[in-house]
Every structure is written in structure tokens, then in C-alpha cells.
Amino acid sequence: MDSYEKLINDAKSENVQPNDGTKKMKKAITSSKWRLILTTITVALLIVPTGYMITFFYYAFGTKSTTLMDVASNTLYLTEPNTTLEELEFNMDFSLFSMDLGFQQYKQIGDEVYPAKNYHLKFVFNDLVEKEIDSKLEKAYPKNPTQTNQWLVHPNNEMDFNSNDEWRVLSGLPDETVVEAYLSLNDLYTVDDVEKEMNGVDVIWAAIYSGVEDNLLSSNGVLVSPIGYPVQPDSTYWSPFRGSVSHEATFLEMLKGLVPYEPIAEEVSPHKNLELPERIAYLEGNGFKTYGVVVTGPKKNIEALKESDMIRALKVGEVKLWSWKH
């Protein structure tokens, strides 16, 4: 081999080295490029499932989903006259950091139970951010409560409606109807006394005096909602009053249970303020007296109550065709 051939061979072997290096470098660049892309995709794809797991952990171990459901249902039992809820009508859906709760509220009119309102509540964690109510009622309770627009009125408070007009409306109804009536009393009575007085009708719900209903203002001047409890024995599996020996005791227990969740209860309720601690203290010190009740029964039997000395005013609620089986 002459020196020229040797030079050519050396040059060739030198050329091979950089080619190999370039190839390896290209491979390394491609590999790290893919690693970067897949790392980014991995992180992006982990966000939603991790968010869901956080959501599920929160509703299992933080503010429990069942607690929010109980707060919503108990609030309605205590603040909405003549309310009952069905367990199987509850619909619960979970999405990222939020929970949707849907359920139906019922009313007893005569001997039948009718759907009254559909509720759809959306919670982000434990904050109620959306509330949709679809009412099926013909006579809707005032949406924005004031001191005087309630249908159950304390003896010392004024009322917006004309009770004589309501009695006239009642007398004009056909005899074959059953009626839901809101009866305001002229004094404070025990629920037992009221039940004894109301013959031929079912006393469904009693508004309980908790020291603030004279003018519906709390001690710090805030407009509060009326509260009360269902009077009839409730065998519905879901009801907090199921198997209750004393509805008064269950009522007080429910009020105490709502205290830690009062802001949520106030958002769920159509009435904006509950002021529970002040009212619980009054009830514990003074007992349970009612100033107004919701009754249902045949139109004629309710009309007969006009003669009762106990009744101050009447407001006619829902009216349905005959369903009285007593």
C-alpha cells in the first residue's frame, strides 16, 4: 500500500466516526423529544382523574354527600309547610369538584300525596352554587318572604291576605273537593290541643313559636323564616320522623343537627335566615307552642272550623278532587 492509498483509507475511517456520532445524537434527540411529548400528555391526562379522586375523597371523608342530602331534606321538612320527600326520588351525580342533587318534594292533600316541586341543587364542594326549583303547585307560597306575607301568621303579627276573602273562596269550592288550608291561630297552643280541636281534618304541619315570630325578626333585626314540624306519624323510610316517639324531640334534634350547616340550610331554604342557635335556646327554655297549622280534609269539614274560637285566619292552599277515605 502506497502512502496515497494509506491517506485515503485513513480519511475514510475518520469519516465513519462522525457519521455514527450524528446517528446516535439524532436518536437521542428523537427519544428525548418523544419523552417530552409523552410526559406532557401524561401530566395532562392525570389532571381530570386525579380531580375526580379528590372529589370522591372529599364527599366520602370531608363534607359527606349524604350529610349535604340530609341538610337539604331536613331544611325542607322544617321550613316548608306540608312537605315530604321520597328516598328513591333522590338523584345524585358527581362531576369534577361538584355534586348535583335532584329530588322531588310532595304534599299531602286529602288522603293522597301529590308531587309539589322538583329541586335541582348543585354543590361545588359544600357550597351551593345553583338552585333550580320547578313548582307544580297552583298556589305557590310567596317567593320572597317578608315580615307579613307568610300564610301562617303569629297572633301579634299582621297579614297580607284577607282572611274573609279566603273563607269565601273556600265556601265557593265544590263539596267533592279536598283542601289544604293554612290556619293561623289567635293564641299559642300545644299541638295536641290543636289536634283535638280540629275535627274531621288531618293536622299535617305545625309552625312552632321560637321567640321571633311576633314580627319574624331575630334579636339582631334579621328577617327569619317560620319553622315547624310534620304532625302526622310518618312511616316513609326516608323521613327523619319515621318511628319518632316525640315529634317535638325529633324537631329539636334536627334543628341542632342543622346548626353546623346553617349557611347551607339557609341557601337551600326559600327563606334566607334561620338564626338557629337563638331559636333553639328559646325552645329549650320555653317548650313548643304552635301559632299556625296546615290542615287537609274535605272542604266541608274545613269550612266547619270557621266556628272555632281558636282560629284567627285562613289561607286556602291546594285544592284537589275528592280523595278522603276516613
Partner: protein, 97 residues
């Protein structure tokens, strides 16, 4: 030398495939969660998770492809953990059938 390179490539490819399978399952989970439709991690998807896990474990043996293998294994484990958490906590937080 050539055989050694081929072996290295096989492990490396096993790692990459394991990662892609893990990401594919995660993508389906994301679509399911965001669309609101129940696409249960059963049948084909659980098979993909298992194959991804096995490939990842295989790739994690040699040092040069260990990182890729572990990545694939962790994705499969995450999917399994997610499924267990959602299934059991789902029973706890929703008392209705």
C-alpha cells in the same frame, strides 16, 4: 454486537408500548369522565392495562430501558388505583343503586 442492539431495542420498544397503552387507557377515562358516559374499565380496557403493566415490568428489567418500563408500570398502577378508588368510594358517597 448486532444481537445486543436488537435486545436493547426490544426492551426499549416494550417500554414505549407500555407507556402508550397506559396513556390510551387514561385518555379513555378522561373522555368517559368529561362526557359523563359510563365507559367501565372492563373487557378490552382492563386487558390493555394488564398488557401495559406486563410490558412495563419487562422493560424495567434492564437498566437502559428501566425508566420507560417504570413509567408504563406507574401508569397501569395509577389506572388500577383510580378504578378501585372510584368503585369503592362511589358506593360510600352515593347511597342509591
Amino acid at each position: 454486537m448486532e444481537l445486543e442492539t436488537l435486545k436493547q431495542d426490544i426492551f426499549r420498544w416494550a417500554g414505549w408500548i407500555s407507556i402508550v397503552m397506559g396513556l390510551l387507557v387514561l385518555a379513555v377515562i378522561n373522555i368517559s369522565l368529561l362526557s359523563g358516559y359510563d365507559l367501565l374499565i372492563t373487557g378490552d380496557l382492563s386487558a390493555i392495562v394488564i398488557v401495559g403493566f406486563l410490558l412495563g415490568t419487562f422493560a424495567a428489567v434492564p437498566k437502559h430501558s428501566r425508566q420507560l418500563g417504570l413509567w408504563g408500570v406507574l401508569l397501569s398502577l395509577y389506572t388500577g388505583f383510580f378504578t378501585v378508588v372510584i368503585f369503592f368510594l362511589g358506593w360510600t358517597i352515593s347511597p342509591f343503586p
